[in-house]
Symmetry: C2
């Protein structure tokens, strides 16, 4: 019934996981699964934390993300817009939309991310996709891949 917050954005009996199994397309980011999904609520609740200088994978997928910033602030690419997201801001990452989170300050960026329990695997950009993305100079200087 209760997943107790034990301080500093860790929770009782919730392991601190690698963001993804492998890859060099992300940096300094961890994952905690706070809820795997429930009877009539087929969504997972995860907490991601990015340390200063870190970033999530630049990717897109069919499934949507519903995000609530819990800790700190940072920059988020959604499509071809870069948003500065702060504590308690709510973000939606629509389907098939390039996105990337970056902890651009000197403190962590932590956020809840709600997704469908059944979801497709993310797609990373091809060289052609990157070329397209980089036509926008702001996006070009933002993305890490």
């Amino acid at each position: 019934m209760l997943v107790r917050h034990t301080g500093d954005f860790r929770w009782e009996n919730v392991p601190l996981l690698a963001y993804k199994e492998e890859g060099s397309h992300f940096k300094n980011i961890s994952r905690q699964v706070l809820c795997e999904g429930l009877a009539d609520l087929s969504c997972q609740l995860r907490y991601f934390e990015i340390l200063p200088g870190g970033h999530s994978t630049l990717e897109h997928h069919h499934h949507v993300h519903l995000v609530v910033i819990l800790r700190g602030d940072g920059d988020v690419l959604i499509g071809d817009e870069i948003y500065h997201a702060r504590e308690n801001d709510v973000l939606v990452i629509p389907p098939q939309t390039w996105h990337q989170f970056r902890a651009t300050a000197d403190y962590p960026l932590g956020f809840l991310c709600i997704v469908n329990t059944e979801r497709d695997r993310p797609t990373r950009p091809s060289e052609a996709d990157l070329e397209l993305l980089r036509q926008n100079p702001e996006v070009a200087s933002f993305i890490r891949s």
Copy 2:
């Protein structure tokens, strides 16, 4: 894409709503709908805030609640257990389980609540239900109806 937090647990273009249309079975509680539901994510994200001395309705229903405490702390009845919930704690209210939130400190209790967009209406306790609930002295002194 971005629902901006404007401070003090209010969000840009998100109206502050009554908790429920009518009734005297709740007190000092407001509702803000942060997300109505998305393409492949059939869940609503709401923020509820209870002012000191206030409480939600004592009720049960088939649909589950997934709750994250965002602000302050308070007491929550789930079944026949009373939990003291604090910031960043995660709670699950299982199906058909009596529950009630109370702001028992002298500051607000604010929490995110995720539910299925399609859900049944809550049931309030009958006199017989209340009698059963009150057999537990702790529950008896906790509930407000």
